[in-house]
């Protein structure tokens, strides 16, 4: 395994809630609770989870687009959370970001060439002429045409806009690409186009991905390692093949059996390997023991009273009292 590009240690993110009474103590919601993971150079780490699991917040606070309460984020050894504003701004040229919604992630009043060029302007890289060359190169690389450079975002389809977003993220030659649900707003046929593009770019440019998704199929396709989050904590992480073939945490197993599969047919009277009920508990008042205990078919009294520690077995980590 190569040296880590990004190492997140005990990252915690809190959101302030309104005070229940004036001058009373302010309650906090812990959206991310002491999350640690490592992303090696040239690899893709998928963070999967359902809405409210804190996966997006984890990624956003790791690259300081949301404030973290505590923890460390080491990128090539430098703690991003300890940098001052200006140093962080300079650091941003090494980090690209792709969003979920291709309709709101591009400034509607800017021409797409300017959108893709802006990172170079802000970082003061190159001359105006070389910047435009870079924009043209990127445009063709992500599968757009040069005659579209002067158009405005609304003149593109969702898939094309996501390509523009990718081009913008790549402009400054970053080492890390944070992808926040990059295909979940797209039609299936377009999803495949974008996923393949991301796959090619990764090998070609030696990029590392922090890949946020709720879609296990997408994660399996793109990622090398996967971390599963539930209510602000990582409950299981492993290399992708291992996680999909030998899931240990009941929640991972439930996620896998809930994902629609072409193999489960109504005509054959399908049965899910594992069925769970209900919704995740509220992060405002997290359960005392294991957060998943309330929905877990295997939960015992110990699960409700005692929070499971992360157990490490090689590159497979599980936080469960009774893994299988």
């Amino acid at each position: 395994m190569t040296a880590p590009l990004l190492e997140v240690r005990d990252l915690t993110v809190r959101f302030a809630l309104p005070r229940p009474r004036p001058f009373g103590p302010r309650p906090y919601l812990e959206a991310v609770r002491s999350v640690s993971f490592t992303l090696a150079k040239g690899r893709a780490l998928g963070i999967v989870g359902e809405s409210g699991s804190g996966k997006t917040t984890t990624a956003m606070s790791a690259i300081r687009l949301a404030p973290a309460a505590s923890g460390q984020v080491l990128m090539n050894g430098t703690d991003l959370l300890a940098l001052d504003e200006d140093a962080m701004r300079r650091q941003r040229k090494d980090i690209g970001l792709i969003f979920q919604d291709p309709y709101s992630s591009l400034n509607p009043r800017a021409r797409v060439a300017d959108i893709v060029r802006e990172p170079l302007d802000l970082m003061n890289i190159g001359t105006p002429a070389t910047r435009m060359d870079r924009v043209r190169t990127l445009f063709t690389r992500v599968g757009l045409r040069e005659d579209q450079l002067n158009l405005f975002p609304h003149q593109f389809s969702g898939g094309q806009r996501q390509r523009i977003s990718i081009a913008r993220a790549l402009t400054t030659n970053p080492q890390l690409l944070v992808c926040d649900e990059p295909v979940s707003a797209l039609d299936v046929a377009i999803q495949a186009q974008i996923l393949n593009l991301l796959g090619h770019l990764k090998t070609e440019l030696g990029l590392s991905y922090l890949f946020i998704s709720h879609d296990l199929g997408v994660v399996r396709h793109v990622c090398d390692d996967v971390a599963v989050m539930y209510l602000g904590k990582i409950v299981e992480s492993a290399p992708v093949e291992r996680l999909f073939t030998q899931p240990q945490h009941p929640y991972t197993q439930a996620l896998l059996s809930a994902a629609p599969s072409l193999k489960r047919r109504k005509s054959q009277g399908y049965a899910r390997a594992m069925q769970i009920t209900g919704d995740p508990p509220s992060p405002i008042n997290p359960p005392q023991g294991c957060a998943f205990a309330g929905r877990c078919p295997k939960a015992q009294s110990r699960c409700r009273s005692e929070r499971p520690e992360m157990k490490v077995a090689g590159d497979h980590k599980i936080a469960c009292h009774f893994p299988a």
């Binding site: 495949a192 399996r220 992708v240 599969s261 072409l262 047919r265 009920t277």
Partner: protein, 324 residues
Amino acid sequence: MTALLDISDLHVTFNTRHGRVTALDSVSLHVNAGETLGVVGESGCGKSITALSVMGLIPAPPGKIAGGSIKLNGEELTTASPARLRALRGAEAAMIFQEPMTSLNPVFTVGEQIAEAIMLHQKASHDQAFKQAIALLDRVGIPSPDTRARDYPHQLSGGMRQRVMIAMAVSCRPKLLIADEPTTALDVTVQAQIFDLLNEIQRDFGAAIILITHDMGAIAEMADRVAVMYAGRVIESARADDVLDHPQHPYAHGLIDCIPNVGKGDTSLKEIPGVVPPLHLLGDGCAFAARCAHADARCTREKPVLTDHGHHPVACHAIEEARL
């Protein structure tokens, strides 16, 4: 055996700033009592318009049913009076929408809203209707239904709200249930619960379901038969297993091959190049020709018609000429 719902040669047009466009072009479908028909395609292919036409909910103007017939239980709906359509909606055919938050009225409790739906179509006192509402909430798997009935929509999770929508939809025991992307806004584990619930409801109430989706995985789990739509036309129609195992039309093929599957981690996905053409730019030929690897001159000239060429009905010249 006559079908419960029989749509034949349905044409729907919309007036837009590009002139009149054909949103549904000679669509024929049927649904038998108690079965699930999956309607699948990318956004803009006409699947939601089909559902809205059945419910008599096409916004007119700008929309208009320009030809063809929709027969529910032998009764013609395209010429039915608005009063008759209102009576049928809810009682004979009910609809479940994609976004349960905006389809429920935020200022009434969910119990009231279900009771209201019951009283619209049945002679029942308010108390009786409310009791029925509680029973229905229990039936759709909402825990402690008598207290939940007094909750407002915003107090429920997305999954719970969708259960409420289902309870409301089945409150008058309709023979036909139209579910338009019912789980798109939900998490996978909740989606699985909703799918299981819909299948149960179908068993218990004997309702036929039209499931509108872009997800072939959902088709596999839910549908008995499938209609694949593209650019306002049905391009393939058969038993679900036949379409999933032996897709004929290149587009149906593509839709199945481009899904990143949980069960396998390929290095590259099959893509369908390009995008769905906008309706006002549809020419005389096959709408898929521009994206199709097997298209020839005839495909750009002449629209293929849904015909059985040995396996099951498909609208494709290449298959007719056995070039595929």
